[in-house]
Symmetry: C2
Subunit: 205 residues, 2 copies
């Protein structure tokens, strides 16, 4: 679109680079921003430019944080006996909305994915093993990586690593989050894998 002024074209190009945003959406967003007050655009600009400047990683759970250790790890009300292992900081946000869970977290920073060149050494797995051996050993580790191929593989790998060092950690209970039909789902539309997992994970009433 060489007919548009450079600053407009420039922002359309930048927005088009974002995942799920094509050139039409990018134009729409750009013209929306153009109608906003200058101050609004400047604070948006600052938010983009300042992104990441204040981010540290908690030396205990490896979650993103502003303070080290993070708010959750330094919270004395949290039950340090239960560690929930997650892939990403956003998973912590999702999990922590539950009033049910008052344990602590361990953020891996992704999942094992040979296709993307992410091996166990790129994740905070060694850190997890060190954490449970040096800290007061927890009672339970909940493996809550995503129920995707990568997440399943990662959970299996971690469980195996912990069991290899069985003598050291023999009292730790290792669990995997329940997989099955999501609430509100329709059985007839469920995929085979989910259904199989739901059957496998059935519990006595």
């Amino acid at each position: 679109m060489p007919l548009l002024p450079k600053s407009i074209q420039n922002l359309i190009n930048q927005l088009s680079k974002l995942p799920g945003i094509g050139p039409k959406t990018a134009s729409r967003l750009t013209f929306f921003l153009l109608k906003q007050p200058e101050m609004e655009r400047q604070s948006f600009s600052k938010a983009v430019g300042g992104l990441g400047a204040d981010i540290r990683y908690c030396s205990v759970c490896h979650n993103m944080t502003e303070t080290d250790p993070c708010k959750i790890c330094s919270d004395i009300k949290r039950d340090k006996n239960i560690i929930c292992v997650l892939e990403d900081p956003l998973d912590v946000v999702a999990m922590d909305q539950l009033a049910d869970f008052r344990g602590v977290y361990h953020v891996l920073g992704g999942a094992i994915s040979p296709l993307e060149g992410i091996g166990p050494e790129n994740l905070k797995i060694t850190e997890l093993l060190n954490r449970i051996s040096t800290d007061q050993t927890p009672k339970e580790i909940i493996l809550a990586t995503n129920p995707s191929l990568e997440g399943e593989a990662t959970a299996m790998y971690i469980a195996k690593q912990i069991k290899i060092q069985n003598s050291k950690f023999k009292n730790i209970k290792i669990t995997r989050i329940g997989r099955g039909l999501p609430m509100g789902a329709d059985l007839e539309y469920a995929d085979e894998y989910t259904l199989s997992k739901a059957l496998e994970g059935r519990r006595e009433y």
Copy 2:
């Protein structure tokens, strides 16, 4: 999400203000940006901050431009005898992708919309009337406002204004783009073929 560092939360909030982007998409985009190189984020930030700084309006056609008169109005290869009247700068971009049209444009800056408080006096209609009376009078005016209620009303209003001053402009042919475009559609999102057909099927008012 008070668990995330401020700079992340800040950008999520800003992105959530954009139309069609909810908090989930905003988080996804923020984490995508977080993985980009710092330089990439800075140029995005600059693109947002610099938006609008270079925008002038062409004194002839009132399109957004960096130079006055704009590239199209100062192009000697353009046929000044045909003026295509459009609502918005993005409509010019859409229309100008057609090889069919080599005339010039007139950008109204919107359409008459009593609900939004936009009357004829808020649009560049007087400027259009002045333009066709002071410039060499064009042979044809194509009213290509959107085929929406507002666009139709605007086209009708302009046609009427020109006909009122009939004696002065009696040789001007006033046409409306063909209603091959479905009612309620938005010109800037029309595919090229529909747009081309609409141009071809224009009828005298």
